[in-house]
Symmetry: D2
Subunit: 384 residues, 4 copies
């Protein structure tokens, strides 16, 4: 197929944050171009936002419903190939359902839905339509996360025993929601769902843990807390985890950890080795073995496995960062999409991006952790 893939976007208008990140990431490799959008519930704001992005007026829509209908009606050579959803959490589900119904492949920001029930419905819809669905758990796009995964799954370190995954942030240590839009919807049960901290960032930690190890959380014991007065949802939480192979885990997420920016990190301890990765220094993977000194593996050096090598764009020593990791999801998704559009069965290796199943898993985590947080029972099984 000798052309760029055409992306439409729902959400991400002026004043939004993550929409711009998606646009940069999607277009980073020159494989995808933004062709249309419904950027806001306000038709006026949508128009202004689309013009900022140099879109022609007839491809800027006042609502996602209008966009899906109009684009579906365009000839195949013109209409968008897939749609990216970057609206607040509460509208992910209806929009994704509608987009799939209209025949479009979907990229959706996380969390996928507000409830596990919705997640399962979406899962079924994806299966029924045969369309692709990518959920942007972007942190798994870093080269050294892929190296970590290959190291653990390859078996050289033996069985996983102990895992510690953390995502501390400090930006909600005060009642910022009073005058900050980003803080506002995240701490509002109506728009964010049953959890603030666990839904927003705990879910990234959960996803990273399962991605790197290939293990599944079996049961958990949780302690959720709300430290800022008047806040209605959790802003911190610690969770003990037990995995399906018997490994134990700690998951800690916090938005009141002053001084922490996006401190996502993971440590995995196996029988014969261990590894450690920090999102804020994403190009280094710390590797330990029982029988030799600590190794520092670095992005784009010649000492890495295939997956990590494929995920890097620039020479070693130049920071491969957040946008590049994010772009890897889009790159892999675009690759899968080209296969699907060519009528081929998508090769399994291509699907190195979070899918609707990861979304279901995330919602299962979220519903379980919220329940575990308020339960007097020590261990609560996680199903999903």
């Amino acid at each position: 197929m000798q052309r760029k893939l055409r992306m439409g976007m729902i959400g991400g208008g002026r004043g939004a944050m993550i929409g711009g990140v998606h646009r940069i990431a999607a277009q980073l490799d020159g494989q995808i171009e933004l062709v249309c959008g419904a950027f806001s519930r306000s038709a006026e704001n949508s128009k202004a936002s689309g013009r900022d992005l140099f879109l022609p007026d007839d491809r800027i829509y006042g609502s996602y419903q209008k966009m899906l209908a109009a684009e579906a009606a365009l000839p195949e050579g013109d209409r968008m190939d897939f749609v990216t959803i970057v609206t607040p959490n509460d509208s992910h589900f209806p929009i994704a359902m509608a987009a799939l119904d209209a025949g479009f492949d979907v990229v959706c920001d996380k969390p996928m839905t507000l409830t596990l029930a919705h997640a399962r419905k979406l899962e079924k819809k994806v299966a029924d339509t045969g369309l692709l669905f990518c959920l942007t758990h972007n942190y798994t796009g870093y080269p050294m996360v892929k190296e970590a995964r290959e190291l653990v799954r390859g078996g050289a370190m033996g069985k996983v025993r102990r895992l510690v995954v953390e995502y501390p942030q400090g930006w909600l240590a005060t009642a910022l929601e009073k005058d900050n839009k980003q803080a506002g919807w995240r701490t509002d049960p109506k728009r964010a769902g049953a959890s603030c901290c666990m839904g927003d960032i705990g879910s990234h930690a959960e996803n990273l843990a399962e991605y790197v190890t290939g293990l599944r959380i079996k049961e958990m014991c949780a302690d959720l807390a709300t430290f800022v007065k008047g806040r209605k949802l959790d802003d911190d939480g610690s969770v003990l985890l037990r995995f399906n192979n018997g490994a134990r885990g700690i998951l800690w997420a916090s938005q009141i950890a002053i001084g922490r920016e996006n401190g996502l990190n993971i440590r995995v301890f196996c029988e014969r080795g261990a590894l450690e990765w920090h999102q804020q220094e994403p190009n280094t993977l710390v590797v330990d073995w029982t029988d030799k000194p600590r190794e520092l593996r670095r992005t784009a050096t010649p000492f890495l496995g295939a997956a990590a090598s494929a995920a890097a764009r620039i020479p070693p020593g130049h920071p491969e960062g957040f946008l590049e990791g994010f772009a890897n999801l889009y790159r892999n998704f675009a690759d899968a999409l080209r296969q699907r559009m060519a009528g081929k069965k998508v090769r399994e290796a291509t699907v190195d991006y979070p899918t609707v199943q990861d979304g279901v898993r995330g919602m299962a985590f979220l519903e379980t952790v919220v329940r575990a947080g308020s339960s007097k029972q020590k261990w609560i099984a996680m199903k999903g």
Copy 2:
């Protein structure tokens, strides 16, 4: 008093590890000299060990009973002033009781006893005799731990909300106890008590958390694990904590964390600030505030509080380490002892070393964590 204080030692003969550390730490400041010892249950090994240390034969004893009796019988100008106990855990209690009964002040390696009941008896004995008792939770001797404590307790950061304390080690990731003496007694329920990992290093984490914050653990939820086959005690454990002011905590200790040496670290998050300290880089305290960039406070620089300043010996930029921190306990103890020997009431500020109350607290932690680890009840109160 124009002379050095005279120390006797019980335990710490050839092949032991911590005894040598105590001798170096005790004598570091030139305020204390080793004058006698019962270094081993084997009279022969005791003799050889004492000669290595250049002690005269008549001050090297074949048993602690003989030593306590003989030293007590010496004239005041000759006999030891206090005794240091560095035997395996199971004998701390009887030896400490005997030493106090014989009228000697005591320095005792941790854990203080094998059971909480013994800890309480010892506490009572210390109270009854009016003698001093120092428990070597040595990590609280580092200058920057004292700075951390002063920062948190001084109130500038507001109330403590969230605490994470960890002590990962990797040396027991394999069945080392088969041919390593140090590993052997630690993993033997008879000599180590009800716990290996929590007793040996979890207790340091507990002590550090309470020392820095001044808070008390109110209740806990624990998950203890034994990963190495055939091992009878825990080699890893994670604990959720709730403190008396409502703060939440995570305590993780592990001896199967490959690549970790003595990775004790603490992070404390308060309402207006936060701090982080790592034992392996002990001269840096990371300090965060809501309203300014991260600060790195460093040992012996002119920007520190009184307690941290007093605890440093050498110019900034020269690593103040483990031995110096350990020696701070002895220095403070020696100071208190000189006051007591001069018939004065010991000034409260002097007692900046762990006392028998810390030992009781430690045993309460240990008994609670072991119980919580095997309990199906989520939260177990900690009393003591």
Copy 3:
């Protein structure tokens, strides 16, 4: 102007490295689109490369001469707005001259030319045509470099006294040029000019030093070395610097420093403060003062000056990296270009990208350092 700026590219075909970086950086912010190119001296390779980038065949050219002529002949609404030159060093000069003669603004990879004489001619040409010229000394695009510059130039730290700037790499520690294209032209005097190490990376160090401090190198004393047998140009060099305000400097660049990736770093010591920055951890600026603890300033946090704040795209704690820094040059250049195309005088604050004057300065450095390296005279003045 309600459209994207249109970029043409010369060089950067299949197998090249820096061309792809320029394309990503240029298009990162959605302000610029690639519309045409002459990607290789081989018309065939150029065609294939252009198709990879989804360009229409009639905008893919077989030579830069054809491209400049054809594009100039297109109507204003269609033709490219500016041209980016990413060919090997030896062709920068003729292509840049031709592009300016054809009326196109220019972005040029560094080093600008092979000789100082050519640099001066190019400087004159830029002045004569009134067109814009951007030289991609990309490392000055990092947010924290801008923060450093603002800190030093603002005067709060007092006069600069001592500067240490380094750029160690290790990739040429062996005779890699035997079978590596990138190593091949860099070590070939015909294509690389009078220097390998100093030209390729020493010039970045020089540019960074003058950018951050605003000082000018007055004279230098150099020791250049070639460690790999058979190599014809320097692969390592150390230089003592004296600046126009009396400050002293050390510049070290090396391509044989095993284990070093792109280890560019700078330390500046002033009368009342100091700062340190490392390209491989570009989001942290270490700041020291005589009267308070060390500060760590971080990209995108609320504690920064205007220039650093403007240069960040994503929330704090997400690595702002190499591509984003590179893109900042393009963003600033695009901003200036829009002003020029609108017939306005370009505002001085906009010109925060390296210009032809920086290129002249770089060539002056290079010619001086090569001369100083082989001179028996201790200090050699730098003019330019």
Copy 4:
């Protein structure tokens, strides 16, 4: 020999800094005891200082001359075995000469003398008397410096090509000498000799470079500076080095580098590998190879060579620091001394402490660097 070695001390009275460090280091391993001293030129201060150290009045002397005479007159079973000189630089030479003449082995703080001529005289005296002489270039006592040395000298890394050694401090960034005793004598040409910065800390850098590599400086090019107004000696200096095997070096020392404490560090680049060590994190050695990821070697782990292993006292993960490194000099010296006193030839491997030859070398460096600093000639040969 079943007794501790007896040390006398000259200098190091109340208010001094380095004397206390020597006493701690000397006595750390329980092999050496302080038995007498002439702690000050003031007999009164000497007396008070000696009493602080619990010495009997008849072993506290009012001058070094009296001490040497009196101690020499004592019976062998009582008199000191060796003398430690910790006076200001200008008196090292006469005292050391007198001590050797009186038949005592000597430990002397650095720099050994004020001039190269005196250094050579002292060297001859040591040879003539057959006594031992230890110069406390203490930084070579760290375990990981010994590991570095073994790695480089063992040859696995191939020939040394490039070396960068630095010793930045910031404490003299202002005119501290106005009211600080330590700053006072160091910046006074009469007491400090021809150099402040190079003599005080540059000499440590020089010693470390030659210790680790086994190379000899052949010639140098220097730029010394005095940044603080009114100061008479250098407070910063950079030096280009050429070694006897063709390797190139940079040596930078500074006392005006704000924020730097005792930032001594060394980087050595060889044909097949490289290493890096920082005094402020002394327990980590960074090791790079051309064919595998970076290694971090750590003190007291099982992966080290014999010399590093022998130099550690405590388990891995506990900071082995400055005092322990300092003590290693005393331990090795004590070992050599016991051999000499037993009438044996001192085994070469024992002499892992700086000797009078290192002192000569240091003075040669100092005289050359001062000359090179003011010379217009580029390269000045170093002889000595």
